[in-house]
């Protein structure tokens, strides 16, 4: 499958493609026809309010959840059509930074970073040791090599998770809420790391976040996910214009603007208040 990408003359064909993706939990459609393209080398930020399906979308892109309808393509191949072996090959070509870092708590930071190298390459342990030190240096964590995950801070865990994600020199990096729960300085450091990896190594990045400062800092393009659909996908400049624009131009624009500005008044809050509130209080219209 690697040939598919390498032989492709059009460098601009997307490395990640989400096509009409639908995912239901019970009867509730968390993703309701999502389309998304991520081009090689760019940083795509997917944002949206809590519970809009951002993390679910990310989990579909890494093949840990399967769609009810639609499909996800990585490197031009449908994830759903890949067998286990091919999926594993694809997984070696991307890395993920989980929200909590998801370090293996029974191993030291160094062993965490070394694990993908030990399991997927035939490098000898001296070489692996050197690579681990390089990766940790890249995220500024060389001194934490022999520490256990429980002994380091949340920000350090994320950086260690990032070092592990880039251990196999992936072509795509997925980030799940990279700055959630971090102080502003650490958060900015993580953003800087994301940009460095993208610019220096040419890695394609897909970032899921609801931290707007961070989103505008790192994004080349952005997509706004709302109630299981992509409300808008466009360049960072387009989103900046919507943010700074006047209200009332379009309903979708108003939703995006409220979100980008982080205002308490607007269509998102109005929607929340008007949906079933009276029925709930009065106890009508909801019986079985």
């Amino acid at each position: 499958m690697s040939e598919v990408v390498q032989d492709n003359p059009n460098r601009e064909s997307p490395v990640v493609r989400v096509i009409d993706l639908v995912k239901r939990f019970g009867t509730r459609a968390v993703l309701d026809g999502v389309d998304l393209d991520v081009l090689p080398g760019e940083t795509m930020v997917v944002m949206g309010p809590s519970g809009c399906g951002k993390s679910t979308l990310l989990r579909h892109m890494i093949g840990s959840m399967w769609p009810d309808a639609g499909r996800v393509e990585l490197f031009g191949r449908d994830l759903g059509e890949m067998g286990e072996a091919e999926l594993d090959q694809a997984r070696k070509r991307f890395g993920i930074l989980f929200q909590s870092g998801a370090l293996f708590n029974s191993m030291t930071v160094g062993e965490n970073v070394a694990l993908p190298l030990r399991e997927h390459t035939n490098l000898d342990s001296d070489t692996i040791d050197i690579i681990v030190r390089i990766k940790l240096e890249l995220v500024g964590l060389r001194e934490a090599l022999d520490r256990m995950p429980a002994e380091i801070s949340g920000g350090m865990k994320k950086r260690a998770g990032l070092a592990r994600a880039i251990a196999l020199d992936p072509e795509i990096l997925f980030y799940d809420e990279p700055s959630a729960g971090l102080d502003p300085v650490t958060s900015a450091e993580i953003d800087q790391l994301i940009m460095d990896l993208s610019h220096k190594l040419g890695v394609t990045s897909v970032v899921v976040t609801h931290e707007m400062d961070s989103a505008f800092r790192i994004a080349d393009r952005m997509a706004m996910l709302d109630r299981g659909r992509i409300l808008k996908m466009g360049s960072r400049q387009e989103f900046e214009e919507i943010r700074d624009d006047q209200a009332g131009r379009s309903p979708a624009g108003d939703i995006i603007r409220q979100f980008l500005r982080g205002e308490s008044d607007g269509p998102i809050t109005a929607r929340r208040l008007s949906s079933g509130y009276a029925e709930d209080i009065l106890g009508v219209g909801r019986g079985r």
Binding site: F98, A102, L103, N105, L115, P116, G283, G285
Partner: protein
């Protein structure tokens, strides 16, 4: 809500219970199938990575932790057996048969089954808690995303380790029950302890020993399987981990006793 929720009737409840049972057993069977395939490939297909280090680490971890308790418990079981058999046997002058009975009961069943029950607590609960915590902290997902199969990487070494450790500890347990009986015999009188080992050796056949070990292997497999299954299907944070730990111990003990009963019936019918 405006109306009372409809209560499921008896038939619906029974149906739901039956479905849940089938689903649970089906899930475990799938896990066992995948784990066996991966274990088989890892052990016998050259070039496929297996993780001997992980297996050794698990065996040492589980085994060392359980060894002391198994020794302690089994000696006491031997003492209890000897003391309780004396009153009914003494009027007939048959106290010397205590050695024979302890031999058969210990080697065939009590050694393996009590070892397995100790293992439920030590190995089962800790495996379920460990895997459950890994699910909650996204570690399992991280493994999958690193193209490492959690079943190969976590489940296979744990199931194999509980299996091997239960069998090995059962051998220790057999000896300890016999020793417990002998120690009790020392206080009960010469009828019991003089010639104790001799009589036990005469009574015991190889099949008493090996059927016991076979059962120990099955018990170990059940514990490892239930613990891994419960651990991997944890949902909902720390509470879920606690629940998985409890259910592992409960289900493992039930499974062990049901299996023991089935084996005893089969061995009895076929005179094994």
């Amino acid at each position: 809500m405006s109306r009372e929720p409809i209560q499921p009737n008896m038939v619906e409840r029974l149906g739901a219970l039956a479905l849940a049972c089938v689903r649970y057993c089906g899930g475990m069977a799938l896990l066992l199938g995948r784990a066996s395939r991966l274990a088989f490939r890892g052990l016998f297909v050259p070039g496929v990575r297996f993780g001997r280090d992980a297996l050794a680490a698990q065996i040492i971890r589980i085994g060392m932790r359980s060894l002391g308790i198994v020794v302690l418990v089994q000696v006491f079981i031997g003492v209890i057996l000897a003391l309780q058999m004396t009153p009914p046997l003494a009027p007939w002058g048959q106290e010397d048969k205590i050695a024979n009975i302890i031999g058969v009961a210990g080697f065939r069943m009590l050694g393996p089954i009590i070892t397995a029950i100790v293992m439920c607590g030590f190995a089962g609960a800790s495996i379920a808690a460990e895997l459950g915590t890994m699910v909650v902290s996204e570690e399992i997902e991280a493994l999958e995303a690193t193209a490492l199969n959690p079943i190969r990487f976590l489940v296979v070494p744990r199931i194999l380790a509980t299996l091997v450790v239960t069998v090995l500890l059962s051998v220790v347990a057999d000896v300890m029950i016999a020793l417990g009986g002998y120690l009790a015999g020392l206080t009960l009188g010469p009828e019991v302890h003089v010639g104790y080992w001799q009589r036990m050796r005469e009574q015991l056949e190889y099949r008493d020993f090996f059927t016991g070990l076979f059962q120990a292997g099955v018990f170990g497999l059940l514990i490892g399987l239930i613990a891994c299954y419960e651990g991997l299907k944890v949902k909902g944070g720390a509470e879920g981990v606690g629940r998985a730990t409890t259910m592992t111990v409960v289900y493992s003990i039930v499974a062990i006793i049901v299996a023991a009963c089935l084996f005893t019936v089969v061995f009895y019918i076929y005179k094994v």
